[in-house]
Symmetry: D2
Amino acid sequence: MAIMEIVVIPLGTGSPSVSTYVADCVKVLKDMGLKFQVTAMGTIVEGSLDELLEAARRMHRVPFERGAPRVVTSMRIDERVDKELHIEEKVKSVVEKLNE
Amino acid sequence: MAIMEIVVIPLGTGSPSVSTYVADCVKVLKDMGLKFQVTAMGTIVEGSLDELLEAARRMHRVPFERGAPRVVTSMRIDERVDKELHIEEKVKSVVEKLNE
Amino acid sequence: MAIMEIVVIPLGTGSPSVSTYVADCVKVLKDMGLKFQVTAMGTIVEGSLDELLEAARRMHRVPFERGAPRVVTSMRIDERVDKELHIEEKVKSVVEKLNE
Amino acid sequence: MAIMEIVVIPLGTGSPSVSTYVADCVKVLKDMGLKFQVTAMGTIVEGSLDELLEAARRMHRVPFERGAPRVVTSMRIDERVDKELHIEEKVKSVVEKLNE
C-alpha cells in the first residue's frame, strides 16, 4: 500500500478559484472506491502504485472535460517495501513524537 | 494570510523512517506560534509570506542539526489577494461541492 | 504532447548520494524511447499522458529493485489542449521575454 | 551552496499562458546576481539558503504586481553539508553514470 498526494491545477479558466474542479477530481476517487482525505493543499489517497497512477490519470483529465485549456497536476507517491503505509499511521507516528 | 505545505526529507540517515525528523521540524511551528496541521504527506501551515518562509528556513535546518548530511525541502505556498486563505475554509469549499 | 518533471528519491539507502539510482531511472526513458532532459533538480520528459505515467510507474520501481526500502517519487505534468508542449519551446518562450 | 527549483504559477489571469509572468520572476534572479537556469518545468537557482528564500519571496510577489489575484509557488531546495551542490555537477554525476 502506497500513499499519494495529488494537486490538480487548471489554468486559463478566468477564475482564481479551483474548488469546483478539485471537487470533480475527487469524485473520481469516490467512483474508484479509494480511501482519500481532502486537505487544504491537495488530496491524499491510499492505494497500490497502479491504482494511484490510474486515479492520477483520470483526475488530470477532469478539468479538460470542464473546459480548462491547461492543467498542471503534481503528484507525490510515498511507498515502502519494509512496511505498509496508511494515512492515519503516518500522521500518528509524527504526532506521537511531537508530544514526547 | 497564505497557506504553505512543507515536506522536509533528510537523506543519508541510514533509515527509511523520517518521522523523528519531521516531529522536530514541526516543533519549530509550535515555537513560532503558527497554526499548522500534520498530514500524511506534509505539514500545512497558515501565516504571512514572511512567516512561512522563516518557518521553512528553520525547518530545513533541523535535520542537519540532528546529523543528516543532506536535506531536500519541498514547499508550496498558496496566496490570494482577493481573499484570505484558511486551512478549514479551503477544505470546506471542496467538501461542500463534493457532496452536492 | 505533455511534459512531465519527475524526481525519484530513495530513502534508507545509507548514502546521501542518489545519482546512481537516478541514472538507472533515466535508463527507463531511454528504453521507452522518450525524449528527456536531465536537470540538476529532476528529469523532464515529453510524451502523451499515458506514456508519462507508464514511465513514472517504471522509474518509481527502480530503486526498490536496487535494494532501497522506501521511495518518494514526485511528478508534475503540464498539459495544454490549445497547443502542444515541447521542452525547447517552453524554455524559448520564457528566455525570449527575459531578453526583451 | 544549495540548489532550488522554483515554479511560480499565477491563477485567475484569464490566460493559460504564464511565460510573461515567469520571465518577470526570473528577472528578479538577474537583479540579485544569482546563477540560474530556466528549464521547461521551472527555474533552477544556486545560492545560500537565505539567498534562495529571499529570491522565492520576491519571485512569489511578481505576479501580484502584474494583477494576478492568486499565486501558487512551489519550491524544492536541495542542500548537503558534506559537499557543495552546483547545477552542472549534479547533472554531470547522473549523465556520466547514464553512459556507463
